[in-house]
Each structure stands twice: as C-alpha cells, then as structure tokens.
Amino acid sequence: MTAGTIGLLMCEVLEEEVAHLLSRNMDISRISVVASEFSESFRGFVAGGGGRFQVLDDPDDFEPSGGVDVLVSVLEVALHMVKENLQEGVRRAATALAQHADVLMLGYGMCGNVLADPERVLGDIGLPIIVPRNDDGSIIDDCVCLVLGGTESYLEQVYKEAGTWFLTPGWLRHWETLLVKELGAKDIPTVKWIFDRTGYKRALMVDTSVGDPVEFRLESEKFAETFQFYLDTTAGSLRILERELEEAVTTLSSLDLRRG
C-alpha cells in the first residue's frame, strides 16, 4: 500500500475545486489543513465533502496517518499582483510543508510567469515538485486556464470575445478583493470605468459542476449586471487538477518503492 505525504500549496481561488477533488479521491487516507484566515472556506468545503479530515494550527503538528496524506496550505488570492509577494509567499509556505511532505503539489500555474520556473523558485526544498500542465506538457498559465481545461480552451474563448472576464465560484467569492487588488481600483464604479475603458464586455461562467449551481448562476448574474456585461456559460473541467493529483500519488508510490 502506498504511504507518504503530499504537501499541497494552493491559492484560495481554487478552494472549492480542490476540496471537491481531494474529498472524492479514494487513494487519500486523510486531508490535513493548516488553519489560517485564507483556509477557512476550504476547510468548510473539505469537511462537507466527507472523508477523514483534520485542522492543524501549525504544519509542525502534523503526524503521518500511515496511508496517503495530503497536507494543505492555502495562500491568499491575488498574490500574483506583486511578483515578489507570490514568489516569497510560495517559497515560505512550501518550505514549511516540505518539513513534513514527500512530494510538493502546487495549486498554481505560471500566474503571469511569476512561477514559470518552479524549480528555480523552490529547488532548494528538496522534494519532487508537481505542477498542473497542459496536455502538451507545458505548465498551465493560471487558474482560469486550469479550470477551462487548458490554454487552448482559454484561447478559444478569447478568440470568440477578447473582452471576457472569467467566473468561477471561487473567483466570485473573492471578487471584490480580487478586482480591487488586480486593478488598483478604489471602488466598484472605478472598476466599471476600467472595464468600459479597456473593452471588457462578457462575463463567462466556467462550469466545472463544482459547488451550488443556483448560487453560481445568481452570483454570476449579479456580477454581470453590476458591470453591464453579457453573460455566457461554458463547460469547465477538473481533469488537469485530477491528472496532477494522480501524478502526485504516483510519485509518492515510486518514492515508497525506493524506500523499500
């Protein structure tokens, strides 16, 4: 039987999708989440998903279960707005996880090229680093491309309408923070001015079937109405995250075999 710990470092924006995947994965014996203000929603989603789950005040409180553990650290949204913040935040959290993990799994893409070379940012933690990838092996651009199913799916949408703002349940939960931080706007009217000035016209719901569909629709409609966007929907996919999780488990298994 495979045993070991996957250290999962992720952005708040993916909380619902990752919780959904982890809760349903039969290979995982237990999910441990480091408590922080940024992991609060994620903890709720994991707890609601069933399965063995615990909250830790500190990564150092972690003890292996004897099966496949996932030790999760959640960082705040929009860190990518300042390159150094994302790199330093990821490095610090990964170093803490690495004390207890056998494999590091990143719930981040390149995020504006900030993490385009994860080995350079995290090479000294001494663990295999698993990142989400497109079908061609390239690192996924960001959370939007990830839930769309890859860069090609993203391009298909922006070729249709370049001024598209992508919506997921996680993004909608944090949108006011994200928009103010991403755009440096002091309030919603300023955000609207920026959208109008830049040419954004469409809000696109990316439906991965995760979360409450009625709430997702209602919040999307509210967002679209606030900024006078027309609202569209497209099917999303968690297969890139699923594939990444499988790779993390497989890597654990290969490490396990080497340990004999």
Binding site: G112, T151, L155, Y159, A162, G163, R197
Partner: protein, 216 residues
C-alpha cells in the same frame, strides 16, 4: 519654442491625468511656436515615462495609468498634425498591434506614438487582431517592421502563431518582427524566432532606428 515652465506644466498635466489641461497646454505651446516633435520629446514622452515608473513602483495603478494615457493622447492629438519633414515622410514603415485574444493596448499605443514621433509611419492594427489579418497586412503593406504586443501569458501563443504564419506564407524574411508586453522575455523571443524583444518604448525605438538604418 515653448518655455521649460510650459513643458513642465504639460508633463504635470499628463502625470496627474488632466486631459483638458494637457490638450490646452499642448495647443498653447504649438501656437507659441514650439514644434510638434519638440513638444512630444520634451514633455509628452517624459511624462509617460514618469507614469510608467510610478506604475512599476506601485505608486500608480491601472486607473491612474489609464487617466494619464487619456491626458497624453488629448495632448498628442493637438500636436500630431504638426509633425512635418522627416517625421511625416517616414524613415520606415511599421505594422503594429495587439495579438488576437488580447484587448490591452496601453503599451502598444505608447510604442506607436514614440515611433510616429520619431519618423516612422505606423499602420495601427488595433487590438485583438486575428492572425490572418496581420499576415494579410504584411503582404499588402510590405512594412519594414511588424510589432506585436500582449499582456497575458495564454495569448503569447497568438504571438507565436503569427510568426509561424509569416514563415508559412513566405513573408518571414521580408519583415523584422519585434515583440513586447508584460510576460514577454528574451527567452520567448528566441523560442518563436522573433528579431527583437523590448521592455519599453525606448528600447523599441532604438531597435527600430537600427532597422531603419539597415534598410535605408
């Protein structure tokens, strides 16, 4: 010729994002005998360099950039008709635009303005330009340079596909390709076979001048 004080007031109007004041000052400087090129070189471009610096230092964010950009173009519109002589004849032709799928054009507009102010004829394709449109325009206009811009990593693929399209259509050796934008790098330039990567409008101009010298 306008006074240093007038140029400083114009710089301030652009940096502070006051389109009406910037337009009025530019118009006044022109009426007072200052040359269009001089107004652009001594006030408008330095102003946008200040704004870019403030943005990089997180003193300005996107709203301030956009407002300053509005002030810049309000002034530029008043003076651009006064570009004469070498500036109007053009020392080279540039097709410039933002790649397909991307609507962010502040950087592209700044490069275009600097190139125009320095004697290049620019065919501005705008933003979210389909790849085929670039290829058609290069075939039609025979420019010396094609300048492509993007702000986002996924649409870097559009940039690569545009360059690939030039190769497929037998146009690649007829035009120099320059690329720029937030996520672009020298490494990416080499990967897609572009001729130039620049971090800002000054670098773009320096390279365009080299190309112009080569084709003159």
């Amino acid at each position: 010729m306008a006074s240093e004080e007038t140029y400083q007031q114009l710089v301030d109007a652009v940096v502070e994002g006051n389109p009406a004041s910037a337009a009025s000052l530019a118009e006044g400087a022109l009426a007072g005998g200052a040359g269009a090129y001089e107004i652009i070189e001594k006030a408008l471009i330095p102003a946008m360099n200040i704004v870019s610096g403030m943005y990089d230092r997180k003193e300005y964010y996107l709203p301030q950039m956009l407002i300053s950009s509005d002030a810049f173009y309000a002034a530029f519109e008043k003076v651009k008709g006064g570009l004469t002589g070498e500036q109007a004849r053009g020392k080279g032709k540039v097709v410039i635009g933002v790649v397909e799928g991307d609507i962010h054009d502040i950087g592209k507009n700044l490069v275009k303005t600097v190139l125009e102010a320095n004697g290049f004829i620019c065919v501005d394709m705008g933003r979210d330009v389909p790849i085929e449109d670039y290829l058609d325009k290069v075939a039609e206009e025979s420019p010396d340079i094609l300048m492509l811009s993007t702000l986002m990593t996924p649409t870097m693929l559009s940039m690569k596909r545009t360059v690939d399209g030039l190769v497929e259509d037998g146009l690649r050796d007829k035009v120099k390709v320059g690329i720029g934008g937030g996520p672009i790098s020298e490494e990416f330039r080499k990967k897609i076979g572009a001729d130039f990567y620049g971090d800002n409008e000054k670098e773009a101009l320096a390279w365009a001048n080299v190309v112009a010298g080569e084709v003159a």
